[in-house]
Structure formats: structure tokens, C-alpha cells
Amino acid sequence: MTATRDLVADKREQFAFHDDIVYLAETKRGLTRETVEEISRFKNEPEWMLKYRLRSFDHFLKRPMPTWTDGLDRIDFDKIVYYRKPSEREERSWDDVPDQIKATFERLGIPEAERKFLAGVGAQYDSEVVYHSVKEELSKLGVVFMGTDQALVEYPEIFQKHFGTVVPAEDNKFSALNGAVWSGGSFVYVPKGVEVPLPLQAYFRINGENTGQFERTLIVVDEGAKVSYVEGCTAPIYATDSLHVAVVEVVALPGSKVRYTTIQNWSNDVYNLVTKRAHAYENATVEWIDANTGSRKTVKYPSIYLRGENSTADIISVAVAGKGQHQDTGAKAIHLAPNTRSRIVSKSVSKDGGRATYRGHLKVSPGATNVVASVRCDALMLDDISRSDTYPYIDIQEDDTTMTHEATVGKVSADQVFYLMSRGLTENEATNLIVQGFLEVFTKELPMEYAIEFNRLVKLEMEGSLG
């Protein structure tokens, strides 16, 4: 308990810095067919990718803006820079990384993290992966962990086989946008039977006012393989709206196990509209561990399509919505095969007028017999100017499904606060502790460093409101 309290003294602004970078190549503001062609040309891409981008672009134009969540009409697509390249080529070793960028990474603590035990670093500085290293042992195992652009060049077969198969461009308006202008992101391939002993991690940052970040992540885990991928985000604060539209595709082949962990802490001007989806084949297990504390508005529902018999889905989704924020998050489990299992746990905290929305979908399709599924949503509201919504969709088309769903919404109990205060804590510390306890289902799933960082973020959020 003491350790938790003494963890940090810093403030949110410390995460919010940006350096003046000379951009070597960037597109004009706004999105046109020419912009899309230009991006593809910059990257010197194969023809099929250019076609994919243009097809996505057409669909983006055609598709109406979703109206089931509000505020998206405030995004001004013409103000966004869709591609900007921070340095000319991908860097192999830390020494080659430009000093300015290196300084940014150092403030994020990457080199130490790597020295400790992390398997690889893929840091996204704006739209391109600039630094990437995979430890030798992983290379020996045949594990591929690199920028998505590089993978398109180096592993064209695996890439083309899986790219866009989990999240097609036509899936939704924002997956189409990503398909048109994607840049950067991580590519992971784990060969048959290989268990990656340490979590792979990538830091993402947006830098540059009005820079859109459209990273594309593709993770392919071959039969019987096992991997854990960790993604954490921080971003500088700017006055005008920033846009982050990512697509994450995970292919969990038979018998594999994949865990994907995200701590999302974009600054409060970012629209974070992300499509994350995994396909789980026979006997595969996919876990999404997803936390959202930042951004102005996040729309994200990590989804698992249980395509193979006896596959398992486990989703933990956490959201903290503070002043001016709307966390429209949740989870989806789509059962398409017999004997599949899913578990969704969602925890949200809203405060200072923030709005936390859980939106979920649990579907059992005809033929998916003997499914066991559960959905649990809990929401904590810290004051009466905040708002909490719960919209679970449950659609069962088999007769032997066992599905349970529970949801509760409440406030911090005055009794608990009083008790903790009687033990010498301030009201702020007491509330902080209760909130951290409420979110523990999530933090206990994180690697240790991330758990510390996440608790730190929650504490900063709390200080903003109560301190």
C-alpha cells in the first residue's frame, strides 16, 4: 500500500512533450485519392497494396459516418496530415537512432526497459517504425518482430496471406480509412511450436500537431506457438483534434496462445478509433487485455471470432473517463464453432463529467453448439456530473448455449472511504485506493512494470480531479 502511494509525484504534463523534428517527407493536409497514391509511392509498395489502399479509400468515402455513438462528426478529416516520415530509413541499432528521437524514447524509459528483460522494442514515432530490435535468441527461434512496412518487403508471402483477412477494409468506415493510409505498426510472426519467453512490446507515440496515426498491426501465431504482445501509448497534448485510427489483426492458428495487452493513454485531444480483432482457430486461446485512460474519445471493442472448435476467448476491458472524455469501449465474442468458450470482464470509472460506455456483442451462431460464455460489466461513478452507459448485445442462436451476463453501476462507498480515512489516509488517497482495487482484475494481468505504470496513470487521473 505504501509503495503504491509513494510511486509517483509527477503530473500528466510530463508525458506531454514534443520535439521539433524536421519531417523529411509528408503529405499535404487532407485526404484525396492522390494522397493515397502518394503514400504508396513514398513507400515504394507493390501494386496489390496500392490497389488495396485505393479500394479502401473508395469504401471510406462511400461509408456513412456511424451515428450510434456521438461526436464523430466533429472530426475534420481535411485538417489531418495522413503521412509523415520522421527519418529516412529504418534503424537497426540504438546508436543509429537520431538523437532527438532517442531523447523522446529515453523519457519514455525504453532503453532501461529493454535492458531489464524485454524481448524487443518497436517504437513508432509518428508514422514509421524508426527503431526496432529483436534479441538474438528470438531471431534464432525464427520469431519475426518488425515494422509492418518492412514486413511487407521482407515477408511478402505471410504478409499477403493474412493482411486484411481478419479486418477487411469494408468492415467499417475507420478500417477503410486505415486501409487507405496505413503506415507503421508492428508485424509479428511466431513459427510453429515456438513459445516466446518474454513479452514483445512496442511504444507508440503521436508527434506533430494534427498528425493522424494510422498504424497497422498484424500478428500471426502459428500452430502451437505462444506469444504475449504489449502495447502502451502516450502522446503530447495539443489544442486541436488529433486522430488515431488503427487496425490490429491477430491470427491465432490451431493450438496457439496469444495475449495482447494495451494501455491506451493518448492525450485528451485525440480521437482514438481502433478496430482490433482476432481469429481463433481450433484449440487456440486469445486474450485481449485492454485499458483506456486517455484520448478525448475512444471507440474500441477488441473482438475475438472463435472460428475453430474448442477455442477460448478472454477479454478484460478497462476504461477511465475523466473531464471531457468519452470512453466508448467494450468487447465482442463471436462464437462460430462448437465447444468454444468466452469470458468478458469490463470495468469502467467515470468522473468529472466524463462518460464511460460499455458496448459489447456476444453472439452464438447456428452450429456453435455447447458454448459457454459470460459477460460481466461493472461501472464506478465518482460524482453525479459523470455518466455511465451499458449496452450489451447478446444474440444466441443455439439451444445448448450457457450464457450469463451481469452488470452493475455504483459509486464509491462512503463507508469504505471513511474506514480508510480512519486508518490515516486522506480522502483522495482512500478513493484512489478503492479505484485501484476496483480495477485490480485488470492490473493483476499486466507485466509488473506495466502494472506500476497503469496505477500511476490512474493516480494521475485521480489527482486531476480530487487534488
Partner: protein
């Protein structure tokens, strides 16, 4: 792609799930309006305008769960004449144990009667036409209040614009009825649309129980015949401290499409209990709006669905907590045979003023066949965290094997045991019907529906 000029067989145009094939003619609305007081005519016209402007579903949460494709109302027309008065002379026979009855058959009024004591207490049970003549002030208050039905609901506004039948029950302040009032509708004439309004108004401290029955008329078709439409409202006004129990048994023919809109404005300390049983109908689209406006008001709503063949039950309930210390307790249960679909959509809204709310919503499904489909969307929108409870819970599962095993171990044969478990699952509504004869009737209907499915080798066999 077809070759230009190649002859092609005409195919019926594909319909979207949102397409309402029914047309409500303006001329008909005007024809009704011409005979009515100006305020009522204006109410109809305003409703017609809203009906025309609104989409079938205004709530973006639910637009993907609308499916009117099994309805075929293009050839269905509304009854052209306003219903007449109740037959005069000779007291109609009251059902045993009831204090009053209104019986309406298609566009005719078969009987409207109260027992003497109830009438002497000042209770009014009448057709809308009768009430306008009897008490214009009360009629204006009850009929012209635009908020008595959801203003953004296309079908509610359709009924409001085009109704030709209606019943009003008014219980004056302080009058507490011991025995229930029965309101019985018989509908289903092929090719006809019956649009009705029913209004229940309880004054301060009044108490009543109402049994509403929706039954097939003698002309009604089964699902293979020409369709009929029955679109009815139930508009409830509860004064401070009033207490009302409503039980509804809907067993329309499977050739009848039913649209139902029930809305209750619940005053301070008032309490409302709904028990709704949905058995019949080709497609039932029902919406219940509970507005807990008064402090300490409460609502309990229990709804069951027992579906067979390819029936679709599209049920939405909105519970809005506005006053302080209000209580909402909602339970929906669906047992689905064959290729039945059930969409259970429930939204609890806790407004910033609703301090001390206790609200629960439960949606439970039992799929008894591989073709059945249960959708549950139990939602919460909460603007006031200072509540006693705000929760929902939902489950879908097969017949509980443990229960089955237990019953079989007591010597009950498996088919019989299944029947017991399913009927037991639906019992919460049966137990809440306030009139013994209606309770027995509902039990018989449920049992008969199970037996038919059982004989057809549907339910019991496929669940085994």
C-alpha cells in the same frame, strides 16, 4: 449482371427489414377527424405528421434488430368507421370475480358493463366516444396529452392518428376496487387493421386491477392465411399514491401482426405492476415505457414470451427514473420453440434528478430448438450514481439438466419433466394475473402450446 434487353421474369422487390408495408390513408384520418371535436382532430393530424416523418426505429441502439419482413400488410386497410356505442339495455354478464368488463370485437363494441357498486363509486368504464359525450373535460385531459405515448415512435403515432376503437377506465381519487376490470379485445379479421387506444386513469390514492385479453376473433387466420393488423395502446396515468396491477394475455392468431404501445406516467408514491404474457401473433412489436416521475414511485414488470413456429417477438422496454427514491424491477423471460425469434431490448435510464434509485432489469432466454434465436440487449444509461442499485442481468441457457435429473429421479417421465420445467420458467407471469379464471386460462394456453409443439416432435424431441 444481365445482358441488355434479355427478358427477365418479374421478381417481387426485396424488402428491407425496416419497411412497413401498411399505409394509413390521410383521407381516413380526415374522415374520423371530421366527426370529432377540434382538439381531437388536431391530435390525430399531429400524430399523422409524426408517423410520416419518423423512421420505424429511432433508437440507434436497436436499428439492427428490426425485422418486419414476415409481415405482409400491403393489402391490409384500417376499419373505415368509428366504433359505435355499447349495446344498450340489459346488463352484460360480468366474468366471475370481475367488477367490470369491456368487450370489443373487431370494430364493434360487444359489451361495456360495471357492477352497481363500482359504478356508484364513480368509476367510469366507457368507449372513448362515450367518454367524450359524458365528460368532455376528462376526455380532453386524457386524449389530447401528446406525451401519453412516445412522441418519437412511428407506430405509436400511427395508432394515435388512425384509431377507431377505444376504451377508458377512470377510477376517481380514493376509490379502491377490490375486483379486477376485464378488457377483452378480439381481432384478426383478414385484410383489416384494428387501431385502438386504451386509457387507464387512476386518481390520487385509487387502486385497481385490470386484465387485458387479446384474442383471435372468429374470422382470424392462421399464419398461412391473409394477414391482419392489431395495433393498440395502453396509456396509464397514476396519481399520487395510486396502485394498479395490469395483466395482459396476448394469444392472437398467428395470422395477426400486433403492434403494442404501453406507457405509464407514475405519480408520487404510486405503484404499478405489469404482468405481460405474449403467446400469439405472427410478429409482435411491443414497447413499454415506464416513467417514474413521482418521488418514491415504483414499477414492477414481468413479461413472458412463449413462441413457436417462426413467430418473432420484438419487445422493448424503457424505464425512466426521474423522481427521487424510485424503484424499478423488470423481468423478461422467453421460452422459444421451433424457429422462433425473440428480441428483448430493455433500457434503464437514471436521470440526474433520480437520487436514490433502485433499478434492476433481468432478461432470460431458453432456446428449446436449434433454430430458435434469443437476443437480449439489457442497457443502462446512468447520470446519477447515488443510487441504491442499478444493475441488470441476463442469461440464455438450455433446460437445466440438474432439474431434469431431479424430476426424473422422482419418477416423472422425461417429456413430462421438460414440460414442468418450461412452464415453471414462465410461471412468474401466471402467478401475477389477478383474476382466477384468467390465470387458469393462461395456464391452459401455455400447456396447450407446449403439447402441440410436443406432438409435432418439435420442442421436447429436439431439446433432448
Amino acid at each position: 449482371m444481365t445482358l441488355a434487353g434479355a427478358p427477365r421474369a418479374a421478381r417481387p422487390a426485396r424488402r428491407t427489414p425496416h419497411e412497413l408495408t401498411f399505409t394509413l390513408e390521410e383521407a381516413l384520418v380526415e374522415q374520423f377527424a371530421a366527426e370529432e371535436p377540434e382538439w381531437l382532430a388536431a391530435d390525430r393530424r399531429a400524430a399523422l405528421e409524426r408517423f410520416r416523418a419518423l423512421p420505424i426505429e429511432t433508437n440507434p441502439l436497436y436499428t439492427t434488430y428490426v425485422d418486419l419482413r414476415t409481415t405482409d400488410l400491403a393489402e391490409v386497410t384500417a376499419w373505415p368507421e368509428p366504433a359505435g356505442a355499447a349495446p344498450s339495455g340489459g346488463a352484460a354478464a360480468l366474468p366471475e370475480g370481475a367488477a367490470g368488463v369491456a368487450e370489443l370485437v373487431e370494430d364493434e363494441v360487444a359489451a361495456v358493463a360495471l357492477d352497481d357498486a363500482t359504478r356508484d363509486a364513480g368509476v367510469v368504464l366507457d368507449t372513448i366516444g362515450g367518454l367524450i359525450r359524458r365528460d368532455p373535460a376528462l376526455a380532453t385531459r386524457l386524449l389530447a396529452d401528446a406525451r401519453s405515448l412516445p412522441i418519437d415512435d412511428k407506430l405509436a403515432q400511427m395508432t394515435r392518428a388512425g384509431w377507431n376503437q377505444g376504451v377508458v377506465l377512470h377510477v376517481p381519487a380514493g376509490v379502491r376496487l377490490e375486483r379486477p376490470i376485464v378488457i377483452r379485445w378480439e381481432a384478426g379479421e383478414p385484410g383489416r387493421a384494428l387501431l385502438t387506444r386504451t386509457i387507464l386513469d387512476l386518481g390520487e390514492g385509487a387502486a385497481a386491477a385490470v386484465v387485458e385479453e387479446h384474442e383471435p376473433s372468429s374470422a382470424a387466420n392462421d399464419r398461412t392465411g391473409r394477414q391482419a393488423l392489431f395495433s393498440g395502446t395502453l396509456e396509464v396515468h397514476l396519481g399520487a399514491g395510486a396502485d394498479l396491477s395490469i395483466a395482459s394475455i396476448q394469444d392472437l392468431a398467428t395470422g395477426t401482426v400486433a403492434f403494442q404501445h404501453r406507457q405509464a406516467e407514475i405519480g408520487e408514491g404510486a405503484s404499478l405492476r405489469w404482468a405481460l404474457a405474449q403467446l400469439g401473433g405472427r410478429l409482435v412489436r411491443s414497447r413499454v415505457d415506464n416513467r417514474l416521475a413521482g418521488d418514491r414511485s415504483t414499477v414492477e414488470q414481468v413479461e413472458i414470451v412463449f413462441g413457436a413456429d417462426d413467430q418473432l417477438f420484438d419487445l422493448t422496454s424503457y424505464t425512466r427514473h426521474i423522481g427521487r427514491d424510485t424503484t424499478g424491477n423488470l423481468l423478461s423471460k422467453a421460452a422459444l420453440l421451433d424457429a422462433t425469434r425473440s428480441y428483448m431490448k430493455g433500457l434503464i435510464v437514471i436521470e440526474p434528478t433520480a437520487v436514490g434509485t433502485d433499478s434492476f432489469l433481468g432478461e432470460f432466454g431458453m432456446n428449446l430448438s436449434k433454430q430458435a434465436r434469443a437476443v437480449a440487449i439489457p442497457s443502462l444509461e446512468i447520470d446519477q450514481p447515488d443510487c441504491r442499485r442499478a444493475a441488470h442481468s441476463s442469461s440464455v441457457g438450455p433446460i437445466d439438466e440438474t432439474q431434469l435429473f431431479y424430476l426424473e429421479s422422482r419418477g416423472i417421465d422425461p417429456a413430462e419433466a421438460r414440460k414442468f420445467i418450461v412452464l415453471g420458467f414462465l410461471e412468474p407471469v401466471v402467478a401475477r394475473v389477478p383474476l382466477e379464471s384468467a390465470r387458469d386460462q393462461l395456464r391452459e394456453l401455455l400447456e396447450a402450446k407446449w403439447d402441440v409443439a410436443d406432438r409435432a416432435g418439435g420442442a421436447a424431441a429436439s431439446a433432448a
